[in-house]
Symmetry: C2
Subunit: 227 residues, 2 copies
């Protein structure tokens, strides 16, 4: 019986989990911490990475795996700042899968690295469903998206080891209830730390970097509850 | 052979197309125009609908099908403005499928309706892949997402019968190149009309309503090329 034309979703998920487990082994054996940044298109993921490069780069060797459907624009932004970056193109898919991440990691100088940041495809829904072997998912929500997104798209916020509210400098210009947003996040996740960041002014960036460093030192984000 | 435990993706797509065809028949026989609004979480889809209710409501009978992963928040917003609205919950899925839309349509007073707006799940990637029997997809991109999203997520912009750039009132407060954004949209779609809207001030809303009315009158969005 020839079933080669049938795509079996269940099997693909098993395949993903297998590669996520392989990635975890690879990270452990090279003592690398990997963080998976997830948020909507334009939520400020790349800008968040750009804002921490200078400070973090003095203490750690890191690389970025840049996930996109098409184009290398974000990778070019980071490359222009001399960040070691690889581009992962999904070819239309709305999320990164573990095998693609594993293959990209294998091409990096792992022995020289401390931290790998993965910037997932811009999407608040699907990337949260896929384990890529990361130590923590980081949810990035921009103020311009509205305070209710944590309860409208709860899976990511539930899964996240840290939540970053970005673009807080725009609050005076938009209708956004920060207190309500915090409460919505706490409705779905009462444990993970919450950071409020305006990358353009630098406000809140240091706290986010501090958490990244602590996570790196302990390599166990679950130790870092709400601060 | 018992294959009931295996989810067959290919078959689901065929199933979706079948229900999209049924939906088209249902819309045609009731002379209803259906528009499918697609954009990121917080891109301004609900606000765009809110902004046109008063003007459009004087001339047409319309209803809204509100797609969400969880919660009925957007439906409640529209219901409070006395818009006939049904909530379509995907139960975790990142897009609306045709069968759910068909079932929801069947429960509406179709003989009394002229236009149905579908607000899809907030997602710039997956909803563009699914035909739900609509007359046109409408891409909604907020200025806060950045001008490069049309080339980073080209499928939706390629498929769209109209593109709305929302939140143009925020341009003075952010880094957003409107001219470049227009060019990026034209790189992937040189035909569909482009609207620049600030729902909070009303700027550009009339042009968007005019297009909706023309589309309704002709029931053939492909007649309306770039204006």
């Amino acid at each position: 019986m020839d079933n080669q034309h049938i795509k079996i979703y269940k099997d693909l998920m098993g395949e993903n989990d297998k590669w996520a487990a392989e990635t975890r082994k690879l990270l452990t054996s090279n003592n690398i911490t990997m963080l998976n940044l997830i948020g909507s298109p334009g939520s400020g993921k790349t800008t968040l990475l750009e804002s921490m490069i200078g400070i973090l780069g003095e203490r750690y060797n890191f690389a970025v795996l840049e996930g996109d459907v098409e184009t290398t624009r974000d990778a070019e932004r980071l490359d222009s700042l001399n960040v070691p970056v690889s581009q992962l193109l999904t070819g239309g898919a709305c999320h990164l899968e573990a095998k693609l991440v594993y293959n990209a990691l294998c091409d990096l100088p792992l022995a020289d690295l401390d931290i790998v940041f993965v910037e997932n495809v811009g999407n608040l829904v699907c990337p949260a469903e896929f384990d890529i072997g990361e130590h923590a998912k980081v949810a990035v929500l921009s103020t311009t998206e509205g305070e209710d997104k944590p309860i409208k798209y709860p899976l990511l916020f539930r899964e996240a080891g840290a939540v970053v509210i970005s673009k807080t400098d725009l609050i005076p210009h938009i209708s956004f209830d920060l207190k309500q947003c915090r409460e919505f996040i706490r409705q779905v996740n009462n444990e993970s730390p919450l950071f409020e960041v305006a990358a353009s002014t630098g406000q809140g960036v240091q706290e986010w970097i501090d958490w990244t460093e602590k996570t790196r030192r302990h390599n166990n984000p679950s130790e870092f509850k709400f601060q």
